[in-house]
Symmetry: C4
Subunit: 317 residues, 4 copies
């Protein structure tokens, strides 16, 4: 019989049936109650938020700071601000806004100048705020941009394909980036739910793979889990596996030479994503010059094949 | 008998009874004599100091630099500084301060301009100082902000809870951040003090855990040390363990996906923090949509239970 | 017989004869079809592009931004821009370009000033763009400059040299940088192509080395693969190895103390790069002061020697 | 007999007697011939050069750039530069220098303004150069400042101290920084030179230590190599070891929590640094409050003791 492993930290005992544990994008189906806001580290938030939201946050932050300083200049009265050129069409408040903008960005055209002790000191503070604030924003901008990330393409479906005398579970993946990945390591955790009284127990299995690491990943790589007596798939039909909320969780680690750092990727397959009796169509071929040509469009391409006898159980007899 | 390990580097032989070795926040109860100031690396200091102190240090540093340059301009006499607008209410020294501020922040409104060879050269130097200084301050600001850190919540108390036929030491923890932690690894070191002549010997044991690593940490994780004949807790009463200055030191490592780096956490429990005969109340449940709901408020929640027979010793007979 | 290993991820089954799998510079002979553009991460591109192209991209980006803003100012008419000094020889459009330049770089001389609501707001936006843009460009500049990289020199030829009673494959390498490398690790993969029907199968062997790691790399290091019955070279002639498209792929990892990070290096040798019957001339000697003198010019220097009997096969009898 | 290890990469066969292989500061006694200049990576140079030299390089670089641009403005004639205030005492060339300074630092007071097409374009380029250059310099400044480094104090002398029934080689070390180091790992390589014909062979031994890692390093740590039949010191006198150019090379790695990164440290001891018959005076004691007090001044402190019988050989009979 297949060897069960410990819960990988996702939880074992539940009071009710759970949705898929891991989503397609590698996140978990857990929500939290209680200290929601305090859970967010501002750096992590600002680095992970979408680019559109990030731009909005920046604009709002700088506009707010600008208006705060503008209000201070305004409160100092018209004596606090002198103009060297004619500013007749612009009201005093807007003059304060524009002067504040000149100061915050340290552009200091000189069309507006601070006048008197207070205005000069406030302008000094604002210029400091601007220098620190903009450089900080740029740090974040660059941090977001240079953040190591992987972009692994997984075939849309997992396949139960012919393999030696029997069959095997196969999942094909590729590095969608043009950087070279090295020392790539994958594991597949299989989980299903078992009802015991009014509790639901999650069972977990680490699927043995034909190979679970490659040195380089310039081409597609097909993960192969042979379905033999050591497999929890052994002797199960597609329907049986669906009924017990089966799920395959993929976890990949590798060194990305483009970033010079370790990157991670996760995804999961439900039984609806698994095709019984199919095999992948080759995704690369050698051209006349002896160069290997990889076709990304074919990552998920498969053809139906007869597994001879059904269900999988019989394959292994 | 339980297997003793080597001193984890904290010291074995002492001339007197020591306070707890590790504090709740993971620091050690060691003070140093001799080269105190030289021990501080300025980067480490500026990155670890509180935000309030950091802001104060920045303000002081820039004010000081500003005043030094202001004094230099002042010493050049009134010929060193020309104003393009009327500055009548402001004394010459303060004009120098404001000009210096304009230059240090490179805002350069133009209401003040350097005049003559010396003032122009000094102003050039000050602008360089400002550029390097502010960008350096921002580096620190961003370094502080983006610094990988963990925020692990540990249950307020460790419990001696029923476990199989006997009992076990249990400690519950959770990732208080909303980032995903992976490959989390924990060890618990148990230490107590033994008097030999007029020396105090610290003994150390690495407590065997039911499991000491999880792949993911989206939920709470309960560390379980079974109290059997391999445990240094075996056959000891709560009082006996208190008398010998027992202490549990927790050491956690994991990969934080929000930062993309390894983070660490440490804490320690004294025997006063251990509840004899209690078990944790579940901290999560599945809602109607099949989503797991985690309640942080319940991290430390426990209920008293009867360990049947006391002390622990009898549990294991 | 020599022990075959798994495909290191480069591909095993091909429809035709392939060119060398790995190029001299460590890249792979793979081209991709389909999502070419989306494969490029902009950070990886900008960090890896040549310095000349990088400078061009920066200049183009800033010129474009400058012209866009200049056009906006121009569209606001001559009322949008005031000059404090006589600008008679410069046309209005170019005045807008120069004002835009003053604003984008936040230099703000004050010879041009924005006038009216619109021009002031646009100038504020441009100054922000400039601050963010230039700091971002600098982040990239510094990121490129500080990027950890290795510069390992490999001898031009691999040698089949006398070794003990027989012979060995030898490759000499050196750290061309003056930083100290520690914990250096090397493996050599040997591959050749076998025709089966109309398919070409790549075979892979990890060559056992006399030693595959050193603690420090201040001198040259000669990799030695003894050609005995465990070697896939055993009993093969130079010609035979050429015919089956043999290739040696070298993979090196080490810690570079200058960067404080792990660096990688790869290269490959074809059979045309291998000299049968030669040995390396020593690359260092001790001078009168007892200092070891390393001569980089001699890295690839070898002298022909008689392997006594040919082919290699007989060496090992 | 003691077990010999492979050359750790420092070289095995020499044509003459060598000086110590590793210096006190962890560098190697190797000089290179040939591609000296190309060996230096500019980033590594600028990050490792002394602060004084670094400041000089910055100042020279900016002065040079400033003068180059000043010369360009000067070559454009007096029409290229307009002043808004009276600059009578300053010659035209120096006006160009000061304008160039205003532009390079983007301070742009407005006392000087570019005039005409050429001057405006050149000023735009200079402002760009300034922004990129200063931010780049700051990157280096911050990179130098935040660079992870260790500051391990090693006792001035290694000791041959009494240990159990015999003796042991002891070396005491401490983290001189006030940051916490964790997972600290040490190895000691012992090497001596043997004359064979007119060649000198270096022999290397990894000394077995009582313990070679600690979890934390808040106190001093004494490395202990027991001198028994597994030790290359076994049966050797101090004089014998001196004659064969014996050397002890220490290599330390650990995680520094202040930097959040792995740090390294190396040093070496010659036989002249080893005291035969001495033991370390304790470097810490517990005060009345139960706090451990560590005295750095005592790191190297030892007292002479009788090893009973001399030489070491007899200790072990």
């Amino acid at each position: 019989m297949a060897k069960q492993i410990r819960d990988p930290g996702i939880g074992e005992k539940f009071n009710a049936r759970t949705k898929r544990l891991m989503n397609k994008d590698g996140t978990f189906n857990v929500r939290s109650k209680g200290i929601a806001l305090k859970r967010i580290h501002p750096f992590q938030y600002l680095v992970n938020v979408s680019w559109a939201k990030f731009a909005l946050i920046l604009l709002l932050a700088f506009t707010t700071i600008n208006l705060i300083y503008a209000t201070i200049y305004f409160s100092l009265g018209s004596a606090g601000l002198k103009t060297t050129i004619d500013m007749s069409p612009i009201s005093h408040f807007w003059q304060c806004v524009f002067f504040s903008l000149n100061t915050l960005t340290t552009v200091g055209f000189g069309n507006f100048c601070p006048s008197g002790y207070k205005a000069n000191i406030v302008a000094g503070l604002e210029a400091m705020t601007g220098l620190l604030g903009f450089a900080f924003a740029t740090g974040l901008l660059y941090g977001r941009f240079s953040r190591p990330s992987s972009k692994i393409g997984y075939s849309e479906n997992a396949l139960i394909a012919p393999y030696n005398d029997g069959s095997a579970l196969m999942i094909r993946l590729v590095n969608l980036r043009n950087s070279i990945m090295t020392d790539v390591d994958v594991d597949i955790t299989f989980t299903y739910e078992e009802r015991i009284g009014n509790q639901y127990m999650r069972r977990f299995y680490q699927l043995p793979l034909e190979r679970n690491e490659v040195n380089y990943l310039p081409l597609t790589w097909t993960l192969v889990h042979p379905i033999d007596e050591n497999s929890p798939f052994y002797g199960k039909t597609h329907e049986e596996l669906k009924e017990i909320d089966s799920e395959l969780m993929i976890n990949l680690k590798g060194h990305d030479e483009g970033f010079g750092e370790q990157v991670h990727s996760r995804t999961s397959y439900l039984m609806d994503d698994v095709i019984w009796g199919a095999r992948y169509i080759p995704s690369f071929h050698v051209d006349d010059a002896g160069i290997v040509l990889l076709d990304f469009e074919k990552l998920s391409a498969y053809e139906k094949v007869n597994l001879d006898r059904e269900p999988v159980l019989l394959n292994l007899v």
